[in-house]
Symmetry: D2
Subunit: 445 residues, 4 copies
C-alpha cells in the first residue's frame, strides 16, 4: 500500500483505545500513520474526550508525529479512510447488563457473545454496522473494515455476506491468548510451534505441531486445565473433560466450557449473580476505574490495568492485521473471514474463524479439511443458530429470533424461553427498531 494511512476507529471512546494506540506506535516503522480519527456518539462524548486526550499524549510521547482527531461526526471521519476499526457497543454496558441479568433471572446463562446475550448484542449491532458500511460505500470505498465488535463472527458475516463489504476482517483475542499462553505449558516458545485454528468465533478448535511436524495436541490437552492455560480471564475455568478432548484430539477454545460443561458454567454464573451481580456490572466498575486513571495528564502510556480486562489483545490483533495488510506480509493470523471451503462442511460464503494468511489482498484461509462427525455437527448447528440470529437482526422476524433461541445450546428450552426473549426485546426497545411492531405488541400485553 502506498503512503501513510488514515485510521478511523468507530467507538473510539472505548477504554481499549490506549491498547490500540500502543499497537500502532509499536508498529509505526512498518505502518506509517498519517492521522487517527476516534469517532463516538453523543452518549460517549465524555469518555471519548478523556481517552482521546490520553491517545494524543501517547503519540506525543512517541517519536512519531501523528494527530488524533476526536469527533461525533462519523461521516467527517470516514472520508478517505484507509482502515476503519469498530469497537463500539450499542447501548453501552447497560445493555450488556440487561443481556446478562434477564436470562439469569430465569435461570439461564446470559452469555454475552454466544448465548441469549450474544443474540441480542447481534440484534443491536448488525443494523449499525449496516449504516457504517453505507457511509463507507460513499466516503471510503477502498477502505478495510477491521471489526472487533462482538459477536465478532456474526457481525462480520452480516458485513460481508449481507451488506456486501468484502474488504472486512473480523478479529478476536481468544486465539491470540491461546498462542501466548500455551507454549509455556509445553516449555516451548511460540516460534517453535505451528498453530492451526478452525471453527467459528468463540467456537473454534486448534491443533499444534512442533518443528518436526509432530502433533503436540495430545500433550497440550493434558495441560489445558492448568492455570494459565490460555482461557480469557473473563471465562470461569470449569475443567474440561480430558477424555473428550483426547477423543477429538483437538484443543478447544475457552468458550467451549459453556458447551462441554454447561451446568458448571451456569451454576457459577448464578452464584456470581447472587453474590455480586453480573459480569457486566463488574466490568462497568473496572471501566470507571480505568477512566479515572486515563484522566491523569501525566499518563502517556497504556496502563497495565488494562491488560487484565477480558478484552485485552483485541486491539493489538487489529493493529497487527492492519500492518499485515499494509505491508503485504502474509502473516499467519486467526481471523473471521469468508470460508471459501476452508472448513469444508460449511458453506463457502459463511464467515468462519480460521488460520489465514493476511496480506494486501486481505485474509486467505488455509484449508482445514473435513471435521470429524461430532465437531461437524456442533459447527453446523452453531452456524445455523448464527444464520437465524443474523436474519432476525436484519428483518426483525420474531419467529427466527425464537428459532435462534431454541437452537442455541446455552438457552434452555422450557416454559421460560419465550419469556426471556420477550423481556429482552422490551428491555432493548430503544436499540431494536427492526422489532418495533413486535415490541409494541408485547408491551400491550
Amino acid at each position: 500500500m502506498k503512503g501513510p494511512v488514515k485510521i478511523v476507529t468507530i467507538g473510539g471512546g472505548s477504554s481499549y483505545t490506549p491498547e490500540l494506540m500502543e499497537g500502532f506506535i509499536k508498529r509505526y516503522q512498518d505502518l506509517p500513520i498519517r492521522e487517527i480519527w476516534l469517532v463516538d456518539i453523543e452518549d460517549g462524548k465524555e469518555k471519548l474526550e478523556i481517552v482521546g486526550a490520553l491517545a494524543q499524549r501517547m503519540w506525543d510521547a512517541s517519536p512519531y508525529d501523528v494527530k488524533v482527531h476526536l469527533t461525533l461526526d462519523r461521516r467527517e471521519a470516514l472520508k478517505d479512510a484507509d482502515f476503519v476499526t469498530t469497537q463500539f457497543r450499542v447501548g453501552l454496558l447497560d445493555a450488556r447488563i440487561k443481556d446478562e441479568r434477564i436470562p439469569l433471572l430465569h435461570g439461564m446463562l446470559g452469555q454475552e457473545t454466544n448465548g441469549a446475550g450474544g443474540i441480542f448484542k447481534a440484534f443491536r449491532t448488525i443494523p449499525v454496522i449496516g449504516q457504517i458500511i453505507e457511509d463507507m460505500k460513499e466516503l471510503c470505498p477502498n477502505a478495510w473494515l477491521i471489526n472487533f465488535t462482538n459477536p465478532s463472527g456474526m457481525v462480520t458475516e452480516a458485513a460481508i455476506k449481507h451488506f456486501g463489504w468484502e474488504r472486512c476482517i473480523g478479529l478476536c483475542n481468544v486465539p491470540t491468548i491461546s498462542m501466548m499462553a500455551e507454549p509455556r505449558l509445553l516449555g516451548k516458545d511460540l516460534s517453535e510451534l505451528t498453530y492451526r485454528f478452525a471453527g467459528l468465533n468463540h467456537f473454534h478448535w486448534h491443533k499444534v505441531y512442533d518443528r518436526d511436524g509432530k502433533d503436540l495436541t495430545p500433550e497440550l490437552i493434558d495441560h489445558i486445565n492448568e492455570a494459565g492455560g490460555g482461557t480469557p480471564v473473563n471465562i470461569y475455568q470449569a475443567p474440561f473433560p480430558l477424555e473428550l478432548l483426547h477423543s477429538m484430539n483437538l484443543l478447544p477454545c475457552g468458550y467451549h466450557r459453556y458447551y462441554y460443561q454447561k451446568q458448571a458454567m451456569l451454576d457459577h454464573a448464578l452464584e456470581e449473580f447472587r453474590q455480586g451481580g453480573t459480569r457486566a456490572e463488574q466490568v462497568k466498575q473496572t471501566e470507571k476505574e480505568l477512566f479515572e486513571l486515563y484522566k491523569n495528564p501525566q499518563l502517556h502510556e497504556k496502563p497495565v490495568q488494562l491488560s487484565k480486562r477480558g478484552g485485552a489483545y483485541y486491539s493489538d490483533a487489529a493493529c497487527e492485521c492492519i500492518r499485515a495488510i499494509y505491508s503485504n506480509s502474509r502473516t499467519h493470523m486467526v481471523v473471521s473471514t469468508r470460508n471459501n471451503g476452508a472448513i469444508s462442511c460449511l458453506d463457502d460464503d459463511s464467515i468462519v474463524e480460521v488460520s489465514s494468511l493476511i496480506s494486501a489482498t486481505g485474509a486467505q484461509p488455509l484449508a482445514w479439511g473435513p471435521m470429524p462427525s461430532a465437531e461437524k455437527g456442533w459447527l453446523q448447528m452453531m452456524k445455523a443458530m448464527e444464520e437465524c440470529t443474523i436474519q432476525a437482526a436484519l428483518t426483525g422476524d420474531y419467529g427466527l429470533a425464537l428459532e435462534a433461541f431454541v437452537l442455541n445450546p446455552l438457552v434452555e428450552n422450557n416454559a421460560e424461553t419465550q419469556r426471556v426473549l420477550d423481556e429482552l426485546l422490551v428491555a432493548h426497545e430503544k436499540y431494536l427498531p427492526q422489532f418495533h411492531g413486535k415490541i409494541q405488541q408485547l408491551k400491550a400485553k
Copy 2:
C-alpha cells in the same frame, strides 16, 4: 415378485407379533405367504411359545393356510427367507429399565430412543444386527430386511452403510400415527391430503397439502396441541410453542417435544419416576398382562389392548411395506432409507426418514430440497450424534461414546455426564462385548 413368500421375524416372541399376524392376514390377497418363522433366543422361549401359539390360532381362524414355525435357531429360520423383520430387544425390558433409571437418577432424561437410553440401545443392538446380516449374506442373500428395532434410524444406518445390506428398510409408527390422527383435526379424510415427511427417525417434520395444492400446515399447527394430535401415547404431551412452529411452517413429530420443551419433558419424567418408576417398568407390567391374555386358547385375534401400547402400528407398517415391495405398488410410505440427496444438507449415504415410494426396487425417497437454517442445523447436529453413536457401537471407542453424549441435546453436559455414561456401560456389561476393556477398567475403579 414371484410365488408365495417366506417371512422370518427375529424377536418373534414380542408382544407385537399378533399385530404383525393381523397385518399379514389382512393383506393376504396381495401378499400370499407360504410360511412364517418366529425366531427368538433362549431367554424369550416362553413368550415365543405363548405368542407363537396365538399366531397360529389367528391363521387357523383365517381363510388361509399358513404355518407358523417357532424356533430358537436363527440360521434354520433364515434359510431362503424372502423377508426378514426385526423386532428384538437386546436385554429385554430390563435393559430399558436401566437405560431410563440411570440417567433419571442423575437428573437426566433417559429417553429410550433419542437420549442416553437410545445411545445405549444402539450400542446393544447394532452388533446383533451385524450378526444377523452375516447370516443373511449366507442363507438368504436376496431377502429384504425390514427393521423396526429401535433406535430404528441408527440400526438401519448400521445395516445399510456399515454392514452393507442395501435391501433394508427401517420403519417407525410415528408418521403412521400422524397420518391417522391429523386429518380428523382438519375435518378431512387422509385420502384428501398429501403428506410429505423429511428428517431422521424420531426427528422429522412434515407438511400437508390439500387437493388443490394448498398448504394446510399453518392450519394444522394451530390444532397440534389438541388431544389426539398424533403424538404416540408413550410421549408426554408438553404443548409445542406455536410461534416457533409457525415460523418453521413445519409440523414436528411427537419426539420434538423432548427438544423444543426439554425442561417440561424432563420435569414430567422425573415426576413420573418419583411416583411410579420408569416408563419401561409400566411397559413391563403391560406386557405381562398381554401375555396372560395371549395364553387364552379361545383367543384367535389381536386383542384391542395391544393397540394402546406406544408401539402400535409398527407391525402394520411392516406388513404394508412388505406388501408394497412384493406387489410393486409404488405406495407412499415414510421410511428410513438411504438419503440419496432427498434431504440435500445431509450426505447421500446417510439414512434418513423420508416420504418414499415403496416398490419392488425398495424405497425411493422423494427429494425434499433445502431445509431452512434452523432445521438444517438441528438435523446436521443430530446426524452427527448418530454417527458418533454408531461408530462407538461398532468399535467400542469410549471417546466417541462420550462425544455422542456431549453432543446429544437430551444429555446434560455437567459433572454427571461421564458418570451416567460409565454407569450405563457397567450396567449393560453383558450386552456390550465391544466395550469389554473399558468396562473392566471402570469396574476396577
Copy 3:
C-alpha cells in the same frame, strides 16, 4: 383445483396446436376447460388464424363446449389464466436455419438445442420468457407455466431461478418417446415396467426395472441400436458404443449420440447439409405442407402427418402434466424442475430433468442419488455450460457467451470458434437486444 380452467398458449400459431387440442379433448373428463386462448405475434398471424380455426373445429366436433380465442394481445389472454403453455419460436424457423447453417459452414454441428444453435436459441428465448413472466406476475399470479419452448431445460432454469416463477414445469418429448418405444423391444408393455430418469434436458439417462425389481437396463442396452429404439426421428441414429453403455449400465437419451459419437453425427449433418440443406429447412417445408392441410375446413382432427414431426408428443406431455396438476394425481412424469437434491452432484436450485410425481403442488422429483464418476463429470460440465449460456442471455456478456461456446462439447475449439459466435450474433441481431453493443462493434469491423 376448483372449477373449469382457462388455458393460454403462447405461440398458439404453431403447427403443434392440433396435438395440444387433441390432448385436451382426450382428457376433458379429468380436466374441464372453460376457454383456450391462442396467442401469437403479428408475424404469425396468418398461421394463428389457420390453426386456430382448425382448433375450434376440433372442439366443435367433440362433445365439449369450449371456445378457442385467437389474439395478438398477450396481456388480454393472460388475464386470470390457470395454465400458460409456451411453444413459441423467436425468429421462427428462419432463425433456426441460421443456427444450423452458420456453424455447419465452419464445419461444426449446428445442433439446435445442445450445440451452438441451442445456445443462440437460449439467447433469443430467455428475454422473451422474462417478459411473459413479468406479465404473468401482474395478470395471473397463480397460474402454472408449462414450458416446452426449447432449449427447454435452460428456458425453465431462467424462468424459475432467475425470473422467480416457481410454478413452472419444463417438458420434452424425449422421455415420452423412450417409454413408448422401448417396452416393445423387450416384448413388454409399459405398465409392466418401472422407469427412472435423471439428467438434464436432452442429456439424461434412464434405468428400467420389471415388476420384481429386476434391472432390465442391460437387456435393453443390447436392443438400443435397433430401429424403433426410442430416438426422436429428427436425430440421426449413429449406433451407440454398447460397451460404453454396459459400463455405465444406463440407457442414454437420443441426444447422447451427439456426444458419444460426435464425429459420425457431424459427418452426417455435413453430408445432409451438402445434399439438402439443414434440418431446419426440411422442417420448414413440412410445416408448409401441414398448414395446407390445416386449411381444409373438413378437417376436424389432428392429421397423422403431424405425428411424424420430431416434436410429436410434446403437446401431449403438456396436456398430461396439466391434467396431473389439476386432478392432483401424483402421476410419474419426466420433467424439468428444481433439482432439490434429486441429482446430488448438482446444486439444489439447478433445473434438472428427472422422474417426478406431478400433483397439485407441482413436480416433486424422486431422489436419484449419486452418479458414477463419468456421468457426474458430464452433467456438471453441461450444467456449467448452461449456466454460462443463461447468464450471457440475461446480461449480454460476450465473454460468457464465448465461455459457453468453448465449454460446449459440440462446438469445436479452434480458430473458427469465435468467428461462428460473431456471425451468429450479427445474424440474429434483431432478436438479441441484450448484445446490442457488441453486435454494433462486430458490424463495425
Copy 4:
C-alpha cells in the same frame, strides 16, 4: 526434522538426476543429506551407472561429503529412507512413443499427460506406485513420497487416496515455469508479486497480485501470448483467445492450449508427426545426446543442455519441497495434494494442484473458494475423467477405460475411439497386467 537425511530416488537412472543433485547441493546448508540412493530397473542399468557416476562426481566437486548409492534392489534402498522421490517411466520412452503414435495415426492428439497418452501412462504407472508404497509401508513407514512421475496428479491421487500414503506430495514444473517467466512480462521481480494457483495437474489457473493487493491478472493476460510467456517448451504455443481469458480473469496453464485451441494443437501435432515423428522420438534423441555428455568423466556439474528439456525444474521443485518439509519453512509452493476444500467444487479427498504452504506437516492448501461456472464445469469434468482413469488403472475395467476416453476432451468421439483404446492396450500389454484378460480377448480377434 532431526539429523541428516536419506534420500531415495526411484528411476534414478533418469537424465534429470543431475538437476536433482544440483538442487540438493544448492540447499545443503538447510537440508543436510546423509546418503542418496538411486534405484532403477535392469533395463535402466546402463543409464543408472552413467548418471550415477556423474551424480557422485557432482557431490565430490561440492564441499559436502555425500555418498551416492546405485542399486537395482528397491527394497535395499528404501530401508529407513526419509524422502523417496519418483521419476521413473514405466516402459521408458518407447512406451511414450506408442502413446503418441497410435492416437496420431487415427488423427487424434496423443498428448502424453492429459490425453489418450496420459491415460495409458496412468495405467502403466499406478500399479507400480502401489508396489513402491507397499514396500515403503514396511521399510520406511515415516518417509515422505515426493512424486513427479507423470501424470503427476493422477499418480498422486492413487498414492494418497487409494494406496493410503498420506505423506505424499505431487510436483510439476508448470507453475514454477510460470512464476519464473511471467514477472519479466510485467517488468517486475517475482518477489514483488503474490501468486495463487488452483486446479488440477496440467489443468490449473492462476492469479497474480502486486504488493498493494492489486489484481495484475488482466495486464498479464495481455502478455500471455508473447514469447517467454511461461509455457513449457514442449508445448506448441497456439495463441490463447484473449477475450476468453479476460472473461475468466484467470491465467491459464500452458496445457490449457490443448483445450481452448484443440484444433490448432492437433493440426500442429499431426504436422510434426508427418515431418519428424512424435515429440517422444525427439526426446529420445535428446536423451541419447545427454547421456553422451554425462559419460564425460571431466563433467561434474549439470550440463546446460538439460535445462532445455520440457521437464526442467521438476527436480528443483522436488529439492525445494524436501527442504521446506525438512526445515519447516512454510514456503509457498504449487503442489498436488489433498483438496480438503481448497477448491470447494471438488471433493475433499480429491487430489488438486494448488497454492500450498509446505512445512514439516506437509502441504497445507490455501482455500481458493468457489470457481465461476465455466471453470467449475471444466474442473469437475476433468476430475471425473481422472477418476475413471485411476479406477480403470486399479481394476483393469475396460468399460471405465472407455468412459475415460469418451469423456476426455482430447480424445475424439468417433468410430476410431475404441480402436485407439484397443491398439494401445495391445501395444502396452507387457506393462498392463491388470488388463490381461481383455488384452488376450482383443488379440484373439
